[in-house]
């Protein structure tokens, strides 16, 4: 298209843009809306079932329609969930919070240090480090499972909190995200001004840089927290002691017995609900951060 026609069409587009939007035929709008509603139902049905099933007794679970309420027994189920097997579920929730909270805090801090340095320092080995990190991301977790177990075993760390936390501390995605953010958001002049004022690099980092990086750090924290909370394979191989298990592993072990012990179904479902709530709350409160995290992670 020549320059002149392009300019002319753009001028015409200005007045037509608002009017065009809703001009799709009614039938098209109907089909598209129905498509979205059907897909939304698909996404929500398992979650709705979980919420409803956690309010039912074992008898109602098997006899009443699953997507509507019957007698409301949520309190009974919650009580039984936290009382089952000497109340070990409470322990699992606390463990999950320790693993996810501690691991996410640590990995966010390390990613902030490393990502900032990669963005703002010029030094030999910088490109090699970035290549190493990017290559490391592509290694499937499968390959790491057994050697990680043997490694932790040789440190004597099997069946400790460290067995789950230490391997979770190095988030390559986090470094990647902070590096992009720091390159764009931390002005060189600010760092140089800090230096002129006689501040040490470490002090500049803690007093000025961290505050500027905060939005990206929230994103890194969010994604680390989620990935550690969801981790299944690592706790499965490094923790034999039930009292150290996170929620996911504990629920899986109960699910294995649920087929022979039908009363366990309502406990597993109620536990699933409790195990999902922290993540849903995080997502709803930090919406803008997960959006930016997903799109920078995938597009850059």
């Amino acid at each position: 298209m020549s320059d002149i026609t392009a300019r002319r069409t753009r001028r015409r587009a200005v007045w037509s843009a608002g009017a065009r939007r809703d001009r799709a035929p009614l039938s098209t709008r109907f089909i598209l809306t129905v498509t979205i509603i059907a897909l939304t139902a698909y996404f929500l049905i398992p979650i709705a079932w979980m919420l409803i099933a956690s309010t039912k007794s074992t008898a109602d679970l098997n006899t009443t329609f699953g997507l509507w309420f019957s007698h409301f027994d949520l309190m009974q189920n919650l009580h039984d969930l936290f009382a089952y097997r000497d109340g070990i579920f409470r322990r699992w929730v606390v463990n999950s919070l320790i693993y996810s909270g501690g691991g996410a805090l640590g990995s966010t801090f390390l990613a902030a240090l490393c990502g900032f340095a990669l963005a703002k320092y010029r030094f030999r080995g910088r490109n090699a480090i970035m290549g190493l990190i990017f290559g490391g991301v592509l290694i499937p977790g499968t390959v790491l499972a057994l050697p990680t177990y043997l490694l932790l075993n040789s440190f004597g760390l099997i069946n400790t909190y460290w067995a789950v936390i230490l391997p979770s501390l190095s988030s390559a995605f986090g470094v990647f995200l902070v590096r992009i953010y720091a390159a764009a958001a931390v002005p060189d002049e600010l760092l140089e001004a800090g230096r002129i004022d006689g501040a040490h690099d470490v002090r500049i980092f803690f007093t000025v840089v961290l505050r500027i990086l905060l939005p990206s750090l929230v994103t890194v924290f969010l994604f680390s927290f989620i990935s550690i909370w969801n981790n299944f394979l690592l706790p499965l191989i490094v923790l034999n002691d039930q009292s150290l298990w996170p929620v996911t592993l504990g629920l899986y072990s109960w699910q294995m017995n649920a087929m022979s012990e039908p009363d366990l179904v309502r406990i597993v479902v109620t536990g699933s609900m409790v195990g999902t709530i922290p993540l849903v709350v995080l997502f709803l409160t930090l919406q803008k951060y997960w959006r930016s995290g997903i799109t920078t992670g995938a597009l850059k």
Partner: protein, 330 residues
């Protein structure tokens, strides 16, 4: 690393000179102090904490696995009184893996799964992103949130929920299908693979939709208006302009999905608790886990894991090649 030891007076003096508009006379070392980012020792101090953990928990295990894959336990005829010794076995483990029928069948299974599940999931994600991009559907952000919610459910819990939804007696989905006259067994030998595929599709469609949607929103709007003036219909704009322009985003999501497919583990492991039609060697990853922790064959397990990793690399590079062919400039 030394802290700057400038005397306050000196510092003030220099600032004063600068304010007066005189070019500051700096010695070489002072100039270095001003320029941020030249101090390589400082840079390494920032990088090392992350790097050390990354090397220990991401790179060392890889080399350890490689070493293991070329070794094995010497098979002696003794009764086990002597400690078995580890010997170099060359490519024996690999030869065994590549002729192991169970392993090859599991690879075929996940490839079949990937060929169907990845396009279906990305197709759904693309259609949703395109619909949201037209602004025809109201309450867009609410619908997007609903689509994304499954990603917030931990994978194990998602699998447990679907396991119940596949289970006759408990499942309202089966009740509804029965009412409609469709009697489907989600756990039959022929259908359980697709029931697993459904779990991943449910979890990841919204996530991929967000990525494609962001790419769509980044396209300059006047491109569509220009096409419209030239007489293009909405469908033509969608398929001829929007889809080609977001193809890189689709390929990236495809790359992640394919690598994820090869590592399929938790979904089939959970469904195994309710049906025998998911065997212990159903997916390559389940085989690796079982060899290492179930049947105590760590060396062979390492070789199988390396084969999977190489497969993942080859698939990734294949995808990246396609990606580069589309954008020759990059």
């Amino acid at each position: 690393m030394t802290a700057p030891t400038l005397h306050p007076a000196t510092r003030d003096g220099r600032n004063g000179a600068e304010q007066a508009g005189e070019p500051p006379r700096l010695t070489a070392s002072r100039r270095n102090k001003r320029r941020f980012g030249a101090d390589w020792k400082m840079a390494w101090a920032f990088v090392v904490p992350f790097l050390a953990l990354f090397v220990v928990f991401h790179l060392v295990p890889v080399f350890y696995a490689l070493w293991q894959s070329f070794h094995g336990v010497e098979k002696s005829g003794g009764l086990g009184f002597t400690k078995p010794s580890v010997i170099f076995v060359g490519l024996d483990n690999y030869a065994e893996a590549l002729t192991d029928e169970g392993f090859l069948r599991s690879v075929g299974r996940v490839l079949l799964y990937g060929v169907v599940q990845v396009p279906v999931m990305l197709g759904l994600a693309l259609v949703m992103a395109l619909i949201f991009d037209t602004a025809i559907v109201r309450m867009r952000s609410l619908f997007q949130l609903a689509a994304f919610l499954p990603y917030a459910v931990p994978g194990i819990i998602a699998s447990i929920l679907w396991a119940f939804l596949y289970l006759p007696g408990v499942s309202p989905v089966l009740d509804l299908l029965d009412g409609a006259g469709a009697h489907i067994d989600f756990l039959a030998p022929g259908s359980v693979l697709w029931s697993i595929a459904n779990i991943s599709t449910w979890q990841w469609t919204g996530y991929n939709m967000i990525i494609i949607f962001a790419a769509l929103q980044a396209i300059p709007r006047d491109l569509f208006e220009a096409a419209r003036i030239d007489g293009a219909t909405n469908w033509q704009i969608a398929w001829r302009i929007k889809v080609p322009l977001v193809a890189p985003a689709i390929l990236i999501t495809g790359l992640f999905s394919v690598v994820g497919t090869l590592q399929l583990f938790s979904e089939p492991t959970v469904l195994r608790t309710i049906t025998n039609n998911v065997t212990y060697n159903y997916t390559p990853n389940m085989i690796v886990y079982n060899l290492a922790f179930g049947s105590n064959q760590p060396y062979y397990s390492a070789a199988v894991a390396v084969v999977i990793a190489i497969g993942a690399f080859l698939l990734s590079f294949g995808f990246l090649r396609v990606l580069q062919r589309r954008n020759p400039d990059e």
